[in-house]
């Protein structure tokens, strides 16, 4: 299955992925509702994007009491708006913090890989996000650990 591979060391924090994602998700430009989120590290000197890794366990799916989460054609867990009752259980179940709740629509929402043509990967000018057939690994763990304990390379 193709997934979003994230190379945090390439990210410059331009947030273009968030703008593109929000357009796919909401039909407007509204980064606050993007399901890919770019977090700062080391204060202001590094950034990394993060979104649902489409985990094999699919905790959100298991947790949903009304069966509103399915697997779409791209293999992504996807929320069925018609079925979702907005109970937020999935947001609690997801261990990665990548299931969101929209108070305006009162529905859960998450990365659905844009149905197979992810806007974030297209938008990223530095190829920090690519859409590849690779196993899911923890893209961010080492990066986050390293970049919260020291500043730029070569500096303690």
């Amino acid at each position: 299955m193709r997934i979003l591979k994230i190379m945090p060391e390439k990210c410059t924090g331009c947030l273009r992925c968030e703008i593109a994602c929000s357009y796919m998700q909401t039909g407007t430009f509204q980064p606050a509702k993007s399901v890919i989120r770019v977090s700062p590290f080391e204060g202001h000197t590094s950034y990394a994007p993060y979104t649902c890794p489409q985990c094999a366990e699919g905790w959100c799916m298991t947790a949903c009491p009304v069966g509103a989460i399915t697997i779409n054609a791209a293999g992504a867990k996807d929320v069925l708006d018609d079925t979702c009752v907005g109970c937020k259980l999935c947001t609690i179940a997801c261990p990665y913090g990548t299931m969101f709740y929209d108070p305006d629509t009162r529905k859960a929402f998450k990365c659905n890989l844009c149905g197979g043509d992810p806007a974030c990967a297209q938008a990223c000018p530095t190829a920090a996000i690519t859409y590849d057939d690779v196993p899911t690994v923890d893209w961010l763990g080492d990066f986050a650990a390293e970049r919260t304990t020291r500043l730029l390379a070569g500096v303690r």
Partner: protein, 643 residues
């Protein structure tokens, strides 16, 4: 004044047409005297007329800073001066480099209008909070900062930020609000702004500076320490979303592949050092020579970049390899995080003051940003003091220490004296023009400035006549026409002889307006280095207008005419449109050796006036020019009712 207020006409419009896409639709008015903040609507017609950025700012200055029934203007330090912090329609969209801030105010260096730009995330955060611009007026009794979080807009006590430099201010505000990185965009002044240094800048988001004409002093006079904007949660619409994305991709393609933009794409402004040194445009030791004193091969862009550990630190949606954070690898400042200097930093804190130590220069450059001192003017002041000391025009007693060429530590001491107005720093804080005129004599002859009073960019303009002419004649006191980009689009020759005054004048006049258009969109000047056609296409898709190149140029020239009218009202006429003796001198060595701009100057100015359609004697845009620009109201104001 002739044009009605924005708020008035917005409410007057009956059956108002729908708001164009991409606009937040509101202006944020901040009255520091009355401690009040409120949102004002502006109408779709005004959006089309003024766009945003400098277009909006120019009209606000024209309308709101006049005195004596339009015959005079408030001074930069008057509470009625406006500080317009505006972004534009493209800000926050996926077009590269669209977080821009354009500052429009009566500047402290010329005491006339200015327009100066920075990037980062100001525009993004402001637009997503629901505002297109902030208009600051009045003067606070106590130091305050403006906090914006969607509809929470407050003036808050800034005591805890006082005497903090701009980076420290951003860190302190981030900590106070529990936000980091782009979650909080902060534009602030450092000590130089607090102490009303005339070339104080407004600095933001670690490395972005609206540097020109003392806009930081205006902010200081108003006792506004910072503007902090939380990443907003509102939505921005576009008339044609796919169209915006497609235009953005085309612009990106242009920037990546066009020869004139490609080096910027790869290395930002770093290649400037070596490239300009070959053309006699690198300012070396206060214009005392034009021959590099250091091996320029060690200044090639890749070497400058690889000399440091670095990370990309781009602005909104930007894919340029331009802004970077870097860490100093060795020397006294080892381990410090700084902003990679622009070309202007390598020249102002480097070549202009005779320095070679790249780590030292890089550090000093960020120290200027932290103090909020314009790095160009700092270079002109510091290099001037160095030359004057060498020649005995400024003594060790006067300065308090010896300052020799290339002395980074000494330069930093000078920076501190200036930003805190200590000792001779108090005079130097007035800028090189005023300082030189006060000292007079031989010292004055060495100083680089325009008689308008604002700072030339960090070049040796004796080899770049277009920018000298532009800087000297500008309505803003600093570069106004800007650099020639894709001039064929405007029907201008793609190559001219740089020392043919007539051709230079025609080119500077021919491109007048393009920069105003760029600076009204909320886009970076670097990512605007695409064909205007592409910019118009992005604007059309975003707003739903059909916006053409003709309209863009007319808009730009209209804005230039309004700014110039404000400048004239400030009492700054054509007599002051000249370089200082040193600035306009003839290089005696280097690639531009013997090229005497002074011999062609009068002719150049004459030609420029004819080409832009302004009156040489009074400086006013001619009635016909104004009519062609559809500025009949301005024609009436400037020339009286039609005879």
């Amino acid at each position: 004044m002739s044009p009605p207020t924005l708020a008035a006409s917005a409410t007057k419009t009956k059956s108002a047409p729908a708001r164009p896409g991409a606009y937040a639709g509101r202006l944020l008015r901040v009255d520091l005297t009355r401690k009040k903040c409120w949102a004002e609507p502006w109408s779709p017609d005004e959006m089309r007329d003024l766009l945003g950025g400098v277009g909006l700012g120019a009209l606000i200055l024209y309308r709101e800073t006049a005195t004596r029934g339009g015959k005079g203007n408030v001074a930069w330090d008057h509470p009625d001066n406006r500080l317009v912090l505006a972004t534009g329609p493209l800000a926050g969209l996926p077009v590269w480099g669209t977080g821009a801030l354009t500052v429009v105010t009566i500047g402290a260096q010329t005491n006339g209008p200015t327009s100066t730009q920075a990037n980062g995330f100001f525009g993004t955060n402001l637009k997503y909070s629901g505002y297109d611009a902030i208009i600051v007026q009045g003067r606070s009794k106590d130091w305050a900062y403006l906090y914006i979080d969607d509809d929470v807009v407050e003036l808050r006590d800034a005591k805890f930020l006082l005497d903090k430099d701009t980076w420290e201010t951003q860190e302190a505000l981030g900590a106070a609000h529990g936000l980091s990185g782009h979650q909080l965009s902060v534009y602030a002044i450092g000590p130089a702004g607090e102490n009303l240094v005339r070339f104080a800048a407004i600095h933001g988001d670690y490395g972005h500076v609206a540097s020109k004409n003392g806009c930081g002093a205006v902010m200081g006079k108003k006792k506004l320490k910072a503007v902090a904007i939380v990443k907003g949660t509102q939505a921005l619409t576009a008339a044609d979303y796919r169209g915006v994305i497609q235009a953005a991709d085309d612009i990106a393609h242009d920037l990546r592949t066009d020869p004139s933009a490609k080096s910027l794409y790869e290395y930002g402004t770093l290649p400037g050092v070596v490239n300009l040194s070959k053309l006699g445009m690198l300012p070396i030791k206060n214009y005392t020579t034009n021959v590099p004193y250091d091996d320029t091969s060690t200044w090639e862009a890749p070497k400058l970049r690889e000399g440091f550990d670095h990370r990309g630190h781009q602005c909104n949606a930007c894919g340029m390899h331009h802004c970077h954070m870097q860490v100093i690898r060795g020397g006294e400042h080892k381990g410090k995080v700084v902003d990679e200097p622009e070309y202007e930093g390598w020249s102002g804190c480097g070549w202009q003051i005779g320095a070679r130590d790249k780590e030292g220069i890089s550090w000093l450059n960020t120290e200027c940003d932290r103090a909020c001192v314009d790095v160009n003017e700092f270079g002109w002041v510091c290099g001037w003091v160095m030359e004057c000391q060498e020649k005995g025009y400024i003594t060790k007693q006067q300065l308090g220490f010896e300052l020799r060429w290339g002395d980074i530590k000494g330069a930093h001491r000078l920076l501190r004296m200036i930003s805190h107005r200590e000792g001779l720093g108090d005079l130097l804080a007035e800028g090189v023009k005023i300082a030189a005129e006060r000292l007079g004599g031989r010292a004055k002859e060495c100083a680089i400035y325009t008689l308008l009073g604002a700072s030339p960019r960090g070049h040796d303009h004796r080899g770049r006549w277009d920018e000298m002419l532009d800087t000297c004649t500008a309505g803003t006191g600093t570069l106004e026409s800007g650099v020639p980009v894709h001039v064929a689009e405007l029907g201008l020759p793609t190559r001219i002889t740089p020392f043919d005054g007539e051709a230079v004048s025609r080119q500077v006049a021919g491109i007048l307006g393009r920069r105003h258009f760029e600076d009204s969109l909320g886009i970076c000047i670097f990512t605007a280095r695409t064909r205007m056609e592409n910019l118009c296409r992005a604007l059309s898709a975003a707003t739903g207008w059909y916006y053409t190149l003709d309209e863009a140029m007319r808009f730009g020239r209209r804005t230039a005419a309004i700014l110039r009218s404000v400048r004239l009202r400030c009492g700054i006429g054509p007599k002051l449109e000249r370089p200082s003796a040193r600035y306009g001198s003839t290089p005696h060595d280097g690639p531009a050796k013997g090229q005497a701009v002074s011999e062609q100057w009068e002719k150049m100015v004459d030609t420029w006036y004819v080409q832009v359609g302004y009156d040489r004697k009074t400086g006013k845009p001619l009635p016909k020019t104004l009519k062609d620009l559809r500025l009949d109201w301005l024609a009436r104001d400037l020339w009286g009712a039609k005879k």
